[in-house]
């Protein structure tokens, strides 16, 4: 998978490249709007990560020109402005998703995965990690041969963790995708932590190898063995 990053902030571009490379993407970085536009125009990419505030040719302009030329590569825009207008303009011009700086890397990675997954069937009805098995149709959860009863919210949380298994899941992602709250707030963070602790008690009983891990300062991850 080839990803083009158009970002003038050198450090941020390095961090993004490193993060994407560690997820085995083939990364090309462009530091100016012109360079980014030229590459996006001339080469084939599976995804473009585009900063909106660029010296020279701005991100929105690049996006607009690309779409006018019928280049339909998915574009994820990064912006420091969180006004609704900027986001709406970006999406209207043909962006596929946006993230407001400062963003969490796990979230960026999750969105990139989602964009690349698009158009492919993802209706897996059975999710599995180690000896934990979740049947989405019957809403049944099995750890080994022990059946586990979950509340609706716990089930949604577990499903989300499983769908992102092996990857980091931040509290922002949970707030938005599982709790469907537009804004992450302190009370909600506490709710997420409590909910996660309860789910963990049910999924990871004493003695069994742990599947849900807390990554300090980032969020959670579901995987076999230590993260």
């Amino acid at each position: 998978m080839r990803v083009l990053i158009v970002e003038d902030e050198r450090k941020l571009a390095q961090v993004l490249s490193a993060a994407l490379e560690s997820e085995h993407y083939d990364v090309v970085a462009a530091a100016t709007g012109e360079d980014g536009f030229y590459r996006a125009n001339a080469e084939l990419f599976d995804l473009v990560v585009l900063d909106l505030m660029l010296p020279g040719r701005g991100g929105l302009e690049i996006l607009q020109t690309l779409r006018e030329r019928r280049i339909e590569t998915p574009v994820l825009i990064l912006t420091a402005r969180d006004g609704v207008d900027d986001r709406v303009r970006g999406l209207d011009l043909g962006a596929d998703d946006y993230l407001v700086k400062p963003f969490a890397l796990p979230e960026l990675l999750a969105r990139i995965r989602a964009l690349l997954r698009r158009g492919r069937p993802s209706d897996v009805l059975r999710l599995k990690v180690s000896d934990l098995e979740v049947n989405l149709v019957g809403r049944r959860v099995l750890r080994g041969d022990r059946s586990i009863d979950l509340t609706t919210r716990e089930f949604e949380l577990l499903e989300y963790l499983l769908r992102h298994q092996g990857h980091l899941v931040s509290r922002e992602m949970l707030a938005r995708d599982v709790w469907r709250e537009p804004r992450r707030a302190t009370p909600l963070d506490n709710v997420i932590d409590v909910q996660m602790a309860r789910l963990r008690r049910k999924i990871d009983p004493e003695g069994a190898p742990r599947l849900i891990h807390t990554v300090r300062g980032v969020g959670f991850t579901m995987r076999e063995g230590e993260p």
Binding site: V84, P102, W179, E181, P182, R183, R184, A185, T186, P187, L188, N190, V191, V194, Q195, R198, V215, R216, G217, V218
Partner: protein, 368 residues
Amino acid sequence: MTRWWTTASIRVRLTAWYTAALALMLVVYATVTFVAVRHEFREQLEEDSRAAHAHLTPEELVQRQLSEILVVLVLGLPVIVMLAGAGGYVLARRALAPIEHLAGDARRITADRLHERLTVPNPHDEIGRLAAVINGTFARLESSFEQLRRFTADASHELRTPLSVIRGIGELGVAGTRSPSEYKEAIGSMLEEVDRLTRLVDTLLRLSRGDAGSVRLAPELVDLGGLAGDVVASLGLLAEERRQRLEISAPSAVAVRADRLVLREAITNLVDNAIKYGPAGSTIGIRVEQDARTAAIAVTDQGPGIPSEHRSRIFDRFYRVDEGRSRETGGAGLGLAIAKWAVEVNGGHVTYENGDAGSTFRVSLPRS
């Protein structure tokens, strides 16, 4: 015991002065005229005897005397007018002197000396009342300057603390060689601070946008009972952890016109506080109330309440009742400030009441 003329308004005093001055001048004028006329009459008597020889008719005599009186009157008038002018000038200066004085005082009070006040010689007259009004304005100005100063100090403290933690951990990490798990721990704790900082900046930006009036609302009809139910559903878990009961009482459908999300944030913060400060196992009441004009949600906990010396400032940004309640447990002290903003932007207000059975925060909004 004040003398009546010091308590009388300036209007009364000025009237008295002008009346007195006018009376004085009239007396002077009348006296001069009287003296002149008397003199004329005396002369006339003398001339009467001479007239017998001079063959002047009495009519001519009267004519001559009248013209002499006219001369006196005409000559006297400008003198009196000049006197009146001088008197008026003195009176006006006297009357305006306190204003001059006030202006001098006011000029002295600058941004750095806002604690000073105008001197009020007589609080009962017009100037005194004016000075009191100006002093009131200065007091409000002083308190908002003070609030601003405090806010800036608190904000820089709250912003700098995570920064110095991040820096400290980073410098420690770079200084020596540690095990990977220690590095992970260090980076994780830096990230926690970054997270805190991010949210703080986010909240401050929202508040300052609120101050600037650039927040766009999406008002709709909101049923307060439904809203309370919504908040309870989302925070119920936290109350459950502390074995608290969240009790909603909503008599009937009470609707207000508000931005649902913004208003919900206010109620969420209030209920979250009630859960935090209410003792374990207690009950938190969320009552929907209404009267003819307003609708309200009252959140009551059974906690210790807020000491009276703190009550006036609990809605201030960064204000914490318990300074010792650190960032770890208490947050940045912006929850109530956000709640207040969120309610006021929807045209309502939040009040605090300290009852026997704990604290009540009441959000009142105009009924739609």
